[in-house]
């Protein structure tokens, strides 16, 4: 299970990095979205993998997942959305200013 | 008995997901792919319910509920984009 999780994180990161290195804003935005998935999964993994449970204490289940990384990741997801939105608007602003969607604000 | 039923259902759902993914990959049209995504959402909702049945807990039903209620929003905005370009007019 751990190996599968690590493979998932690695694959997501690879794809994200490749997209981040593209010259157009839209792929870079997609890359950032993928990267935030990868980072969130990684943070989540720091609480280890617990199957078929939940951080709810109303029923006395024996094994619990770690709630702290979950709380961290929850806000990270929402903040990630805010960041993506900001970059989307920046990209639009760049189109407005330069007339193109090249990340460097012009053709090179 | 129930366990077997659940296993079989999982198998069938898995098959459905695979077919959907193939449709997603092959297309041929963008509309096929959007529909594939929509189907994927539906399959996910079904899988969540099934998973809850298997574990005997209702904790994942909210996720299924949300997919059922709002999952189609993605399909809607994609269709809107394809037909009108502008999602919010």
């Amino acid at each position: 299970m751990e190996a599968l999780f690590a493979i998932a994180i690695g694959t997501l990161t690879s794809c994200a990095v490749y997209l981040l290195l593209r010259a157009r804003t839209f792929p870079v935005l997609l890359g950032l979205t993928l990267l935030s998935y990868a980072v969130n999964l990684f943070l989540f993994a720091s609480g280890r993998l617990v199957v078929a449970s939940a951080p709810l204490t109303d029923q006395g289940i024996e094994h619990f997942p770690d709630p702290l990384p979950q709380a961290l990741v929850l806000t990270a997801i929402v903040i990630g959305f805010g960041m993506t939105a900001l970059l989307v608007v920046l990209a639009l602003r760049a189109i407005h200013a330069t007339g193109g969607d090249h990340v460097d604000g012009g053709e090179r | 008995m129930l366990n077997h039923a659940i296993d079989i259902a999982f198998g069938l759902l898995g098959l459905a997901v695979v077919f959907t993914l193939i449709r997603l990959a092959l297309g041929p049209d963008m509309l096929d792919r959007v529909l594939a995504l929509d189907t994927l959402y539906v399959n996910s909702a079904a899988m969540l319910v099934l998973y809850g049945l298997e574990l005997g807990t209702g904790r994942y039903y909210e996720a299924a509920l949300l997919i059922a209620m709002l999952g189609f929003v993605t399909t809607v905005v994609l269709s809107k984009y394809i037909t009108r370009g502008d999602v919010i007019e």
Partner: protein
């Protein structure tokens, strides 16, 4: 306590001259004088104890973990300097009142002067070495401002910059040295450091510390080869030169040598470095001073030379040498300040400081001439004046030095030679200016300056005479206390008598006086030799060249790295991360240490789906819509992963954010080309793939290493206390709104800031909307399909109901403010999509940016409310309520906080997506 007040009066009072002058019309000089006099009186009240040999240490700890304490110390040495700073400071305040012309800002001048005075007092009264360094830098800064007082003068600005550069760099070296001292001694308190001399001297880092500290001292005291800033600092107003650049600030380096004398002095390294630099400086500067035509230039080099002499005396490392150094410090401050003031008077009255144009002024200003002559005599070491006494001690000391062995004659010879030049330039200062034929071509006829402008000079010259005639009575107690404090031990035998019988020092004095006179009167010959070399002795060219070189180098480096290409930056960043990761991962074993969980079919399927979708999205990224759909698949799978690994809250959040993100990216895509051109070269694609694979491999291995290490967690604390203390079964939600509520408050604030930034960016943004789709077909005619409208409308109340449900039970089951807010936001957005933003805004006329502010206020107010009950910020409480139909219901104050989160999230989603959607609204209005 008292000592800190002594420092704070001028430091904090620096704004008073301006304030009182503006408000009440009080003469700023009076304000400054009153403040300085108060500090002086406070110091004098402690003087009897200190003169009796006491060391007063007081203060309080400030940042104890860093060893930084606000501790102060008053001993004989500190007292001596405090008296010089405040006494001469008072005289300079008086003098400057007449020196500055009426149109110059006296308020600014006195404010800066007080600032400097406070900083300088801080240096000499600090007990903590870090505090000393802080004040030390403050003197550099205030000196910079004072040198550049005449802002319109380019020379003044350059001189100020040069001084700041040299002394500031020295200050950094000193800081490094002091940190090392603290490391070696284990404390920054002077009392401990001075007592730890043997430890410091035996430490392997001794040379390093010594050099660093000396760099600080030498730059400040203008020792060769750092002397060049001082002559350029003469662009300052003359009172500043008299105060900072002869009597006090340049003496800070001397002070440091004396202060750390017990800790560092007495080794061979100390002798060779300190006395070597001192001797070179003394000889070289005395020689150069003779050939300066500017009065202040001559005095500047003379100051450098005398500072060299004092440094040389400390360099001997002997108790008697140290006492002589302290004595000469006093004498030099007194006569040099008066000489600067006299030069200022000449400048003030004649309009020039060029000795080639000045002549015979004695007949116009006989009293000033007499004062200047006496002061110059003291500088030259004429008997019956104070300079003679310390010079005799100096000569006597040069004869005692043991280190040089058979070449013992070098030091006395060089000292005599330097004194010959001293006598020569002193004679020149007096003879060129005040004697000879009447001056030609002066702008105005000179006359005696105002009465009170001469008083400070008279007082200082009077001191020269009194010390010279009655040393034992006037200066001995202070010298004894100061010397004792420098040595931190018994004083050597010394005598301040005028006449010790005919001995070698007297002979050396005689040689110096005669030789100096001969050189001066044969000056025509020498001047002819050196006239053309005037400007060559200048380190400024070198310093400014170095700066230009550094600037050019940095520019080249920046141009090379920062080519304004995001791709380049990201690549460099990733490579650097890889490099750091590789270094950090050396020797890391990948063998699992903790027990592994077995994989199952579901996990394999999820991973496969995730990987395939992500890779497909990347491979097909040029077809943007398709890539976006695939990203949507990835997001869906990620939320299923969260479900599988027991995180229902995360699954819900991920699901909703995914929906909104797709909407957001589609809105942006409308204004962008539908496909990316395949413009990257093959090389670049291959390179990027390699980098991506490497980074992904690194991330995967890191995740693997993390997952296979033993696990220790503090989760049990939260799990145990969530119900009893936070009142909720859903531990994730309790952490968010209760245990770590402060973090969450920060996070929703960040969200709010992002929304505000987006609003600002969207202002007046106009974009051209495409008229046809990517295949060139016209858009569909129907704007708001009937099916969608019918479906969307009843969904809103349903979704709101679900929101309330998720919100209310969020404390005990998956849900909460974040999730409920996202549900509400998505549902409202659907109305926007189905009916258009104009229609939706008309029916839901809320101002969402206000909602963000209200939500933040609500959350903060919940936190503040706990103060009212004497509990820390954001302490939560809860109770149970019996509702008629619903039954037992739990009410927690954290719920109000959660409500704040809810409102912020709804507001942020609506502000971001709603405004972005309105961008293309009817007629493309960009509101």
């Amino acid at each position: 306590m008292l000592l800190s007040i002594v420092i704070l009066i001028p430091l904090l009072g620096a704004w008073l001259p301006t304030a009182l002058s503006r408000a009440l019309g009080v003469d700023p000089a009076r304000t400054a004088a009153a403040l300085a006099a108060t500090s002086l009186a406070l110091i004098l009240s402690q003087a009897p104890d200190v003169l009796a040999g006491a060391t007063l240490v007081s203060g309080w700890s400030w940042i104890p973990t860093a060893g930084l304490n606000a501790t102060f110390r008053l001993d004989g040495f500190g007292l001596l300097f405090a008296l010089l700073i405040l006494g001469i400071g008072l005289l300079v305040i008086l003098y400057a009142r007449y020196y500055l012309s009426p149109e110059e800002s006296k308020e600014r001048f006195y404010g800066l002067l007080l600032l400097f005075m406070g900083a300088m007092l801080g240096v000499v009264l600090a007990e903590n070495l870090l505090l000393l360094v802080t004040f030390w830098e403050l003197t550099s800064l205030s000196s910079f401002l004072l040198i550049g007082f005449w802002r319109h003068d380019a020379d003044a600005r350059r001189g100020a910059r040069l001084a700041l550069m040299v002394t500031g760099a020295g200050g950094l070296a000193l800081l490094a040295g002091v940190l090392l001292i603290g490391h070696v001694v284990g404390s920054f308190e002077l009392s401990r450091v001075l007592a730890a001399g043997p430890v410091i001297k035996a430490h392997p880092l001794y040379e390093t510390m010594l050099v660093l500290v000396l760099l600080g001292a030498f730059t400040k005291s203008a020792q060769f080869p750092f002397h060049f800033w001082l002559p350029h600092a003469m662009a300052a107003p003359t009172p500043v030169s008299a105060y900072l650049h002869s009597a006090t600030m340049v003496k800070a380096g001397i002070f440091l040598l004396g202060r750390l004398f017990p800790a560092f002095a007495g080794t061979e390294t100390w002798f060779y470095i300190v006395s070597g630099v001192g001797l070179t400086t003394q000889l070289f500067a005395a020689y150069v001073a003779l050939f300066r035509h500017d009065l202040k230039g001559l005095l500047a080099y003379s100051t450098v030379s005398h500072l060299g002499l004092i440094t040389l005396l400390f360099g001997f490392g002997t108790p008697a040498g140290a006492v002589a150094a302290v004595f000469h410090t006093i004498n030099h401050a007194v006569f040099k300040a008066s000489l600067f003031m006299a030069a200022g008077i000449v400048d003030h009255e004649t309009g020039t400081r060029d000795m080639r144009r000045l002549s015979g002024l004695a007949r116009f200003m006989p009293w000033t001439a007499a004062l200047a002559t006496i002061a110059a005599g003291a500088m030259a070491g004429v008997p019956l004046l104070n300079g003679f006494l310390s010079k005799e001690m100096f000569f006597a000391e040069t004869l005692q030095v043991q280190w040089l062995g058979s070449r013992y004659w070098v030091l006395p010879l060089a000292a005599t030679l330097a004194s010959v030049f001293t006598v020569a330039y002193s004679t020149r200062f007096v003879h060129d200016v005040f004697f000879g034929p009447p001056p030609q071509g002066l702008a105005r006829v000179p006359h005696e300056p105002p009465r009170w402008m001469k008083v400070p000079v008279e007082i200082l010259v009077g001191l020269c005479l009194l010390v010279g005639l009655l040393p034992a009575l006037i200066v001995d107690p202070l010298l004894r206390a100061a010397g004792g404090a420098v040595l931190q031990g018994p004083l050597p035998e010394y005598s301040l008598a005028l006449w010790h019988g005919f001995n070698l020092p007297v002979l050396m004095s005689g040689v110096a006086l005669t030789g100096g006179a001969i050189i001066y009167f044969a000056r025509r010959y020498y001047f002819g030799l050196h006239g053309y070399r005037q400007q060559r002795y200048d380190g400024r060219t070198l310093a400014e060249g170095l700066v230009a070189l550094a600037v050019a180098g940095s520019r080249r480096l920046v141009d090379g790295v920062a080519n304004a290409s995001l791709q380049r930056y990201v690549l460099l960043l990733l490579l650097a991360t890889l490099g750091v990761g590789l270094v950090g991962a050396r020797g890391l074993s990948l063998a699992p240490i903790a027990a592994l969980t077995p994989p199952d079919a579901l996990a394999v399927a999820l991973t496969a789906a995730l990987a395939i979708a992500a890779i497909a999205a990347t491979a097909l990224h040029t077809q943007r819509l398709l890539a976006l759909v695939l990203i949507g698949v990835v997001g869906l799978v990620v939320s299923l992963v969260f479900v599988r690994f027991s995180a229902p809250d995360l699954a819900l959040t991920q699901l909703l954010v995914e929906i909104v993100t797709v909407l957001l990216l589609l809105l942006a895509l409308y204004f962008m080309p539908a496909e990316s051109p395949r413009e990257s070269s093959r090389f670049r694609r291959v390179r990027d793939t390699m980098v991506a694979v490497a980074v992904g491999l690194g991330a995967g291995l890191l995740a693997w290493a993390l997952l296979t290490r033993p696990f220790s967690t503090i989760a049990w604390y939260y799990l145990e206390h969530a119900k009893p203390q936070g009142g909720g079964y859903n531990v994730v939600n309790v952490i968010l709104v209760d245990f770590r509520g402060f973090d969450t408050l920060g996070e929703i604030t960040v969200l709010g800031i992002a929304a505000v930034a987006i609003l600002a960016l969207l202002q007046e943004l106009r974009l051209v909307a495409p008229q046809r789709d990517w295949d060139g077909r016209p858009w569909a005619v129907e704007r708001h399909p009937l099916m969608l409208r019918v479906l969307a409308r009843p969904l809103l109340p349903l979704a709101l109901l679900v929101s309330v449900y998720l919100f209310l039970r969020g404390h005990n089951a998956p849900g909460g403010g974040f999730i409920a807010g996202l549900v509400t936001g998505t549902a409202i957005l659907l109305q926007y999509v189905a009916y258009g933003s104009d229609w939706a805004r008309e029916r839901l006329p809320w101002n969402y940016s206000t909602a963000i502010a209200l939500g933040l206020l609500l959350a903060t107010a919940t936190g503040l409310a706990s103060w009212a009950f004497g509990a820390p910020f954001l302490t939560s409480t809860f109770g149970y309520l019996h509702w008629p139909v619903v039954g037992e219901f739990e009410l927690a104050s954290a719920m109000v906080f959660d409500l704040g989160i809810y409102v912020v999230v709804v507001g942020v989603v609506m502000v971001i997506v709603g405004r972005l959607g309105a961008l293309s609204g009817s007629g493309g209005r960009g509101t």
